[in-house]
């Protein structure tokens, strides 16, 4: 699972109000080369929660995302865009867990796939 997916998932246990973002408990992280496409980054940026991506990237080993992103950085700051690209698309959570920030419920990630199925008493 890439951090782009993580950035949009939230805990959907019934009654949970602050289920976003999942904390990441990584056991195995893989890196994968993805084609660098700044145009895609500019288009996807408005749909992202930046603080969640920044925090997740730190846990996953990309500590170079800035606190604030400006329009000019998105347009022509090559160094920033490379770090953004790497965090968003090249770091793969292969084994570990996503942890609900409110309840601590752990959703296991195995072979890169998070299991977000709920138990009967959570629906």
């Amino acid at each position: 699972m890439k951090l782009l997916t993580h950035n949009m998932l939230s805990c959907h246990i019934k009654g949970v109000k602050n289920g976003y973002p999942f904390k990441i408990d990584p056991v195995k992280i893989e890196e994968m080369d993805a084609d660098y496409d700044p145009d895609f980054l500019r288009h996807i940026y408005p749909r992202l929660e930046w603080p969640a991506l920044r925090e997740a990237a730190q846990v996953m080993g990309e500590p170079n995302l800035p606190e604030e992103v400006t329009e000019s950085m998105l347009q022509n700051d090559e160094e920033f865009l490379r770090h953004f690209h790497h965090a968003l698309l090249e770091l793969i959570l292969e084994e570990g867990a996503l942890v609900c920030p409110e309840t601590g419920r752990r959703f296991p990630v195995h072979k890169g796939v998070p299991n977000l199925l709920l138990h009967e008493d959570e629906v």
Partner: protein, 214 residues
């Protein structure tokens, strides 16, 4: 122009626990082939109930052929299906698809609210006794309960929440499901749509729907 290359059935994984690509899957992919990808370039795509992975793999290849960089997510309730999809994606060297195990759209809300540009759903649409719905074997891939609508009707109310302003839904139905009524239900949520492909298959009258936000 050479014909677009979609996924290859010979490179698609299926088994006794995972639904084999069939007429409904092919009709859905044929409908995707008719989509005008350049009106609105999808950036975020979700397939619910990916099964063998044939459809999401085809969608990913179509996007690539149109020069569109997008992020795709495929989900299924079945771990066997997700494993099959993973194998199908690897066999086609498709890397832009993440997998999530979950029940219909529930993992994606509210996180993906109004963010999905292309939503794809080949539901369990076959009319069956409602008891069939509690099975956990491959029947889950097709058993649709009364009129084949039980799973579809759980899915429909969430479409308005997940589609982006430019978003499209492509979905398989058969005449038994009453596609006109499905379109009416979506229209009440501000989602317009139409039948984009009709096909007669073995004992099934397939109707592929394409829907979008008004």
């Amino acid at each position: 122009m050479k014909p677009a290359a979609v996924a290859d059935v010979r490179l698609t994984t299926y088994n006794k626990r995972v639904y084999e690509p069939s007429d409904d899957s092919f009709a859905l992919v044929d409908a995707l082939l008719t989509h005008d990808w350049h009106i609105k370039r999808p950036r975020l795509c979700v397939e619910v109930g990916c099964g063998s992975g044939y459809v999401i793999c085809s969608a990913a290849r179509l996007l690539e052929q149109h020069g569109i960089r997008a992020h795709c997510i495929a989900s299924d309730i079945s771990s066997a299906a997700l494993q099959a999809t993973q194998e199908t994606l690897v066999a086609h060297s498709v890397a832009c698809v993440d997998l999530v195990q979950g029940d219909l759209l529930s993992p994606f809300l509210p996180g993906f609210e109004h963010k999905v540009d292309l939503l794809i759903f080949n539901p369990p649409y076959v009319p069956t006794p409602d008891e069939e719905l509690s099975r956990t074997d491959i029947a889950r891939a097709w058993a649709g309960g009364n009129r084949g609508r039980v799973i579809i009707d759980r899915f429909l109310p969430q479409v308005k929440d997940i589609l982006s302003p430019e978003g499209f839904l492509y979905m398989v139905t058969v005449m038994d499901n009453n596609p006109a009524e499905i379109l009416q239900l979506l229209a009440e949520d501000g989602i317009e749509g139409k039948v984009v492909l009709e096909r007669a298959a073995d004992e099934e009258a397939l109707r592929i729907l394409c829907c979008w936000r008004i």
